[in-house]
C-alpha cells in the first residue's frame, strides 16, 4: 500500500492553450519536477480524440520512456448532447466509454476518471471490458457532491453488489475546501462584483452558512436570490455559482470509503510560497488517507489558473512544484 505522486496535465492547460508549451515540453517539465505519474485529458491535449493514431501512441510511449514517466489516468467526458435534437441512448453512452477504455489501454493508463454524471446502470455492464483491458472506471466525486450524496450512494450499492475492483471512485480533494480560495474572491471583484457581495460570499462560505446543495449539477435556489437582493447583477449570480461550488466535507468518514477509491485528484487553487495551499487543508486529510491505506496516485490538479489569468501571468510549473514539495512532506518523502 503506497500513495504515489502524479500530475494531471490539466494543471498546465494555460501554457498549452497559449502554445507556450507543447505536450512534450510539459512532460519534460513533469520529469524535471521529479513527478512519476501522468494523467491526461485526451480532449485537451490529444488532437483528434477519440481517435488515437498508432503514430501518436508510439510517440506517447516514447516520451514515457525518454522522461521516465508512468501513464496513470485519462479523464473522459460523455458528450451525450452532441447529436442535434436528441440525447445519446444508453448503448451509445456505453460505446463512448468503451472507446475510452480501449484508448486508455493504448496509452498504458490503468485508470479512467469517469465524469460524475454517469449512472450506475451505464457503468455496471462495462466491468468485464474494463477488467479485460486492465482499466479501472473511477467515477469522480467532485464538489459539491461527496460520498454521501445520492448518486454516489447508489454507486456504492452497485459496487457492493458487483464487487469488481474495476468499478470505483476518483476522489477530487476540492471536497475539502475549508476556505473560499482568495483567488476566486479577488476575481469576483475584478469582474465588477460589489465588494460587499464578494465579502458576503467569502464569509458565508467560510463559516458554512452559504446555501448550496450537495449534488453536482443542481443549483441552490436561493444563492442567486441572495446575490440579487444585495444589488448583484445577473453575471454576479453566475460568478457566485461558478466560484462557490466547493465544499468542506467531513474527512473523518473517509476510512470507510477508501477501499472504493482508486484514484485521487489533488485539487488546488493557490500554492503559497511556504508550500501550503491557501484553501484546501492537506494537513488535515492526508494522515487519514495514509492511515486508511489509500493505495494509488494523487495527481495534482491546479485550478487556480482560470481565476487569475485575466490579470496575472499564470506559472503552472511553479504551482505544481510547490504542490509536490507539500505532498512529499506529507507523505514522509522529504
Amino acid at each position: 500500500m503506497t500513495i504515489k505522486r502524479g500530475v494531471s496535465l490539466y494543471s498546465f492547460q494555460e501554457e498549452y492553450f497559449l502554445r507556450k508549451m507543447s505536450l512534450e515540453d510539459i512532460l519534460a517539465t513533469v520529469a524535471k519536477l521529479g513527478i512519476q505519474g501522468v494523467e491526461i485529458i485526451p480532449d485537451q491535449m490529444i488532437p483528434g480524440y477519440p481517435v488515437i493514431t498508432d503514430e501518436f501512441a508510439k510517440r506517447w510511449h516514447g516520451w514515457m520512456d525518454k522522461y521516465g514517466l508512468t501513464p496513470v489516468c485519462i479523464d473522459m467526458f460523455l458528450d451525450w448532447n452532441k447529436f442535434k435534437g436528441r440525447v445519446m441512448s444508453d448503448d451509445e453512452r456505453r460505446d463512448s466509454i468503451t472507446r475510452d477504455i480501449l484508448n486508455a489501454n493504448k496509452l498504458g493508463c490503468t485508470v479512467i476518471r469517469v465524469i460524475h454524471d454517469v449512472s450506475p446502470a451505464i457503468l455496471e455492464p462495462l466491468a468485464p471490458i474494463a477488467e479485460k483491458n486492465n482499466v479501472k472506471l473511477a467515477l469522480e466525486i467532485h464538489a459539491p457532491s461527496y460520498y454521501t450524496s445520492p448518486l454516489e450512494q447508489e454507486l456504492m450499492a452497485m459496487f457492493d453488489r458487483v464487487k469488481s475492483p474495476y468499478l470505483c471512485f476518483t476522489l477530487d480533494l476540492g471536497v475539502f475546501c475549508k476556505k473560499l480560495p482568495r483567488v476566486v474572491v479577488q476575481r469576483f471583484v475584478r469582474d465588477g462584483m460589489k465588494q460587499e457581495i464578494a465579502d458576503y460570499l467569502e464569509t458565508a462560505y467560510n463559516d458554512g452558512t452559504l446555501p448550496h446543495d450537495n449534488e453536482l449539477g443542481k443549483r441552490s435556489s436561493n444563492l442567486g436570490d441572495i446575490v440579487l437582493s444585495m444589488g448583484g447583477r445577473e453575471q454576479d449570480v453566475m460568478l457566485a455559482y461558478m466560484g462557490t461550488h466547493m465544499i468542506y466535507a467531513d474527512s473523518s468518514v473517509l476510512p470507510q470509503y477508501i477501499p472504493y477509491t482508486s484514484h485521487i485528484h489533488g485539487k488546488f487553487y493557490e500554492m503559497l510560497p511556504d508550500y501550503t495551499e491557501y484553501s484546501v487543508p492537506y494537513d488535515e486529510f492526508m494522515p487519514i488517507l495514509l492511515k486508511g491505506g489509500y493505495d494509488g496516485y494523487i495527481d495534482s490538479e491546479y485550478e487556480g489558473n482560470r481565476w487569475i489569468q485575466d490579470a496575472f501571468e499564470v506559472d503552472s510549473t511553479e504551482q505544481v512544484r510547490r504542490h509536490h514539495v507539500m505532498l512529499k512532506r506529507l507523505l514522509g518523502e522529504a
Binding site: Q13, Y16, F17, L18, I41, D79, K82, G217, Q309
Partner: protein, 130 residues
C-alpha cells in the same frame, strides 16, 4: 474561462475574392478547457462597432474545414481543438474600413454536465491595416 484570449487580433483583415473585398476575418478561441465537437459550440454573438453580425453571414474554419456557423450544430465529429485559433469569416461586401474597430464576442458552450451551459466573453479594439 480564457475570456481575455478569445479574440485573436493578429488575423484581423479584409478578405478578397476575384478582386472584390467580400468581407473580413478574425481569429477566435473557445472559452473552455478541452477541445469539443462543433455541435457543442453554441450560440456565437459577434458585434463589430456595436452592430451584431447576422449568423447567416458567418462561417468558421477549424482543423482545415470551413462550415457556416449555422451548421455547427449538425457536426458531431469534427472538432475545435483546445486553444485552437479558429478563423471566423464574415460576409460583408466592401469589408471594413481601415483603422480601429471595436469587436465584441460572446460564445455559449453547450457542455453536458453544466445544466445551462456557460458563456465566455471578450471584447477588444482591433486595428485593421490599410
Amino acid at each position: 474561462m480564457y475570456d481575455k484570449y478569445l479574440i485573436v487580433g493578429e488575423v484581423f483583415k479584409n478578405v478578397e475574392q476575384g478582386g472584390q473585398v467580400t468581407g473580413f476575418q478574425l481569429g477566435l478561441r473557445l472559452p473552455y478547457y478541452r477541445g469539443v465537437v462543433l455541435s457543442l459550440v453554441g450560440e456565437m454573438v459577434i458585434k463589430v462597432d456595436g452592430e451584431q453580425v447576422p449568423v447567416g453571414d458567418m462561417s468558421v474554419t477549424v482543423g482545415g474545414k470551413t462550415l457556416p456557423v449555422s451548421q455547427l450544430e449538425n457536426e458531431p465529429v469534427a472538432k475545435w481543438e483546445f486553444g485552437e485559433v479558429g478563423i471566423l469569416t464574415v460576409k460583408k461586401p466592401g469589408g471594413l474600413k481601415p483603422g480601429e474597430h471595436k469587436v465584441e464576442f460572446s460564445q455559449h458552450m453547450l457542455i453536458s454536465y453544466v445544466p445551462t451551459g456557460f458563456w465566455g466573453h471578450d471584447e477588444k479594439t482591433l486595428h485593421l491595416a490599410a
